[in-house]
């Protein structure tokens, strides 16, 4: 292989057009100016960063400097070098594709004794082994069981505020809402509950009236049955729970049945009552799956 510049089309450059730019003082001035600006900006950036200066100073220096350098590079190359148009041959496929039998073998050494069965057993073992290397995926998490379908709510668990304080029915004003959790299980995602005191009076079926306290205090799961966002908005006058993510709307006075939006299931209602000390308690876990339906 010759290293000389020459006729070898794979090493040299086949030129079909050249444009030599005329010398231009304006261009040289631009390159010099841009280079100086870029240099100054580089220094300001470095010094500014080291001194802990305001971000606007070293940030702008970085931006302006890079852009000035870009202008300088482009202008320099445009003026210092000719604009060349060259050609390079592509690898041309054969006009007639060679047939499989006539093609050169990829490897030169062929097997001398054909052992098909033995070969297949070997390949089979290797394949099995390869597949088995995928099994560590099973260690990535515990078997789901029903962990994802259960919540921390159970009979006798008090409803507490995010600060852990148990609630009495009177703590929630008419037309008021509160996010509540099971006692000792604050911020366990599946167990988020929104407590609502309806402003339009007593709820109607399919709300379970046995789980309603004070005739208008009702609790639903806060986990949206569409994609799981917390349903935190409450339109007091309509008694409507509204999910901010995809605008699913639930009628809190009618068992949190969906009235609009991409959700198909109502929010499960929490069985709720009052314990002997007057605090709100759960009467058991939800009777439906909380959150989005699993596949």
């Amino acid at each position: 292989m010759t290293d000389e510049q020459g006729k070898d089309p794979h090493k040299g450059l086949d030129v079909i057009g050249t444009h030599v730019p005329p010398p231009s003082e304006v261009n040289d001035t631009i390159v010099m100016g841009a280079s100086i600006l870029a240099g100054i900006c580089a220094i300001v950036f470095a010094v500014g960063l080291t001194l802990g200066g305001p971000m606007i100073v070293y940030g702008s220096a970085l931006a302006v400097g890079l852009l000035a350098l870009a202008v300088a590079v482009r202008r320099y190359f445009a003026a210092a070098y000719p604009d060349i148009e060259g050609v390079e041959p592509r690898e041309i496929p054969d006009a007639e594709p060679t047939r499989q039998e006539d093609a050169e073998p990829v490897a030169e050494v062929e097997p001398v004794h054909r052992r098909t069965v033995v070969q297949r057993m070997l390949i089979g073992a290797a394949a099995l082994f390869g597949l088995s290397l995928a099994t560590p995926v099973a260690s990535l998490g515990p078997a789901p069981g029903d962990t994802l379908r259960r919540t921390e709510w159970e009979e006798g668990r008090r409803l507490v505020t995010p600060d852990g304080e148990p609630l009495r029915p009177d703590d929630v004003a008419v037309g008021g809402i509160s996010t509540v959790w099971p006692e000792d299980a604050v911020e366990v995602e599946s167990s988020a509950v929104i407590l609502v005191r309806l402003s339009t009076g007593a709820p109607r079926p399919p709300t379970n009236l046995d789980w309603v306290v004070d005739d208008d205090l009702v609790a639903y799961s806060k986990v949206c049955t569409h994609a799981g966002c917390p349903v935190g908005l409450f339109r007091e006058r309509d008694d409507a729970l509204f999910c901010p993510c995809h605008q699913s709307t639930f009628d809190a006075a009618r068992g949190a049945v969906p009235t609009f939006g991409p959700t198909a299931r109502a929010l499960p209602q929490l069985p709720m009552g009052v314990d002997d000390d007057g605090f709100l308690v759960a009467l058991g876990d939800f009777t439906e799956q909380v959150g989005p339906t699993f596949g």
């Binding site: 292989m1 290293d3 510049q5 794979h10 040299g12 450059l13 079909i16 802990g52 200066g53 971000m55 606007i56 070293y58 940030g59 702008s60 931006a63 890079l66 852009l67 350098l69 870009a70 482009r74 320099y76 190359f77 210092a80 070098y81 060349i84 148009e85 060259g86 050609v87 390079e88 041959p89 592509r90 690898e91 041309i92 496929p93 998490g141 789901p144 962990t147 994802l148 996010t179 959790w181 995602e189 988020a192 569409h226 994609a227 799981g228 966002c229 917390p230 935190g232 908005l233 901010p244 995809h246 605008q247 969906p258 991409p262 198909a264 959150g291 989005p292 339906t293 699993f294 596949g295």
Partner: protein
């Protein structure tokens, strides 16, 4: 060559025999067109992401265990925050350059996704995916998936209130897969929400996904070098046989260097002007709470639009369920990517040119009517879904109930893609017919290799 460079080169050449390969590389010819630079924009965004990412990784704490923040930020001083969020608050407020590099990193991520999509559109519309480049096209589609995975894991590492909703919806999407949903959740999250997501996403975002991306990207570029670039027809040269353009040195080197500097400069400028990744007011992820007016990141808007727009259903079967979230959150996006993978083969079937010969020419977007119709229709479909996500902003701006906006988009998402696709197809067909009528019959169309 400057004397120093010459000395270094000669020294290395004496030991490594560089001269030959160097000549071959530097004299390589690159066709010139603005749309060929889109892939390079993506490449330079990736480089900037890696550089800024290395800086950010020096400060990030990959755990959600609570710590007390004692830095300078007024809104958090003395409060208990998840470790990951606290480390980023420290980086933004107490480390010089922290906020600037965070913003550049986020801006570069957005630009990476945007330029990858623009590059994909260029490949589709100019037919650069045709034989022999189907393999490289598939590698490119896989790269796009990796880019989106990187963006998703990166966004959620911040562990703020928006990330909370984003993760919860990802969790619901996994769970909606029939039969294996809950196992998928356990495999990815390692437990009930939020699970082990912070350290796992950290490993994915910083190690696994960048390594896969870098490897595939190298393969992608090697294949482009080997198969050489496609190019538009050029007067006087048979572009099927020869690549015509400017050599790597000096022209393409100058262009690429300029582009790299411009990408850096523009990202830095935007980082100063636009608070890309500021999140003090979002606050950390708090289980059980979400904010109004929260959305996914823009490159997921089409998925959010899909799971918002279409009417609700949950189909129950013995032993499993097919839910709205599964169909529109999983099947639809996978279907779109499946279409992308399948498209070279779809066009082979439907187009009227000879698809069994190598093609190195770029066509114009309306040259192949079937392609114009399909690409325009699908792009419109994804765009309508994307814009549909902004329904709450539109409702507020126009003082119209959000339900009315949703219904408008429900109609639009079916009607507009069909209309636009059909219009593109009809116009392309008319244009092709006009051009064929004007050409003399003996001339072969530019997509064939002369015998």
């Amino acid at each position: 060559m400057t004397p120093l460079f010459r000395f270094v080169f000669d020294t290395l050449d004496a030991r490594l025999r560089l001269r030959g390969p160097a000549r071959e590389v530097l004299n390589k010819v690159f066709p010139k067109h603005w749309s060929f630079l889109l892939g390079e924009v993506a490449l330079f965004s990736f480089v900037i992401l890696v550089l800024t990412g290395i800086f950010l990784a020096m400060f990030y704490r990959p755990s959600d265990d609570p710590i007390v923040y004692t830095g300078s930020a007024e809104l958090f001083r003395g409060r208990t925050l998840p470790g990951a969020y606290a480390s980023i608050v420290e980086l933004s407020h107490d480390v010089t350059g922290g906020l600037l590099f965070r913003r550049i990193h986020r801006g570069a991520a957005y630009l990476f996704v945007a330029s990858a999509l623009a590059h994909l559109l260029r490949i589709l519309l100019t037919g650069a995916f045709r034989r022999p480049r189907e393999v490289n096209t598939h590698i490119g589609t896989t790269l796009l998936i990796l880019v989106i995975a990187l963006a998703y894991t990166g966004q959620n590492l911040v562990f703020d209130l928006l990330a909370g909703s984003s993760l919860r919806i990802g969790y619901a999407t996994l769970g909606s897969v029939p039969l294996i949903g809950e196992s998928l959740i356990m495999a990815v999250f390692g437990g009930a929400y939020p699970g082990q997501v912070v350290p796992r996403f950290f490993a994915l975002h910083v190690l696994i996904l960048p390594a896969m991306l870098a490897g595939l990207l190298t393969l992608h570029l090697v294949l482009v070098a080997r198969q050489r670039h496609t190019q538009f027809p050029v007067k006087g040269v048979d572009a099927q046989r020869y690549v015509v353009g400017a050599p790597l040195w000096p022209s393409q080197f100058a262009a690429s260097t300029t582009l790299a500097l411009v990408v850096g400069g523009v990202l830095a400028a935007f980082a100063v002007l636009v608070p890309w990744s500021d999140f003090d007011l979002h606050g950390p992820l708090v289980v059980g709470h979400a904010s109004n007016a929260g959305h996914a990141e823009w490159w997921l808007f089409y998925v959010q639009g899909a799971i918002t727009l279409f009417p609700a259903f949950d189909w129950f079967f013995p032993g499993f369920a097919v839910t709205h979230m599964f169909v529109f959150g999983t099947v639809l996006p996978l279907g779109l990517f499946g279409l992308l993978y399948a498209y070279p083969f779809i066009e082979r079937r439907l187009a009227d040119y000879d698809a069994d010969i190598d093609n190195h020419l770029c066509s114009r977007p309306l040259d192949v009517p079937v392609r114009a119709g399909l690409v325009f229709a699908m792009t419109t479909f994804v765009t309508v879904l994307t814009v549909a996500t902004t329904n709450d902003v539109l409702a507020r701006g126009l003082r119209v109930p959000v339900e009315a906006v949703m219904w408008t988009f429900r109609v639009g998402v079916v009607a507009l893609p069909l209309l636009v696709g059909w219009a593109a197809y009809a116009r392309a067909r008319a244009q092709v017919r006009r051009r064929q009528a004007a050409k003399p019959a003996t001339v072969e169309p530019s997509t064939k290799v002369p015998a």
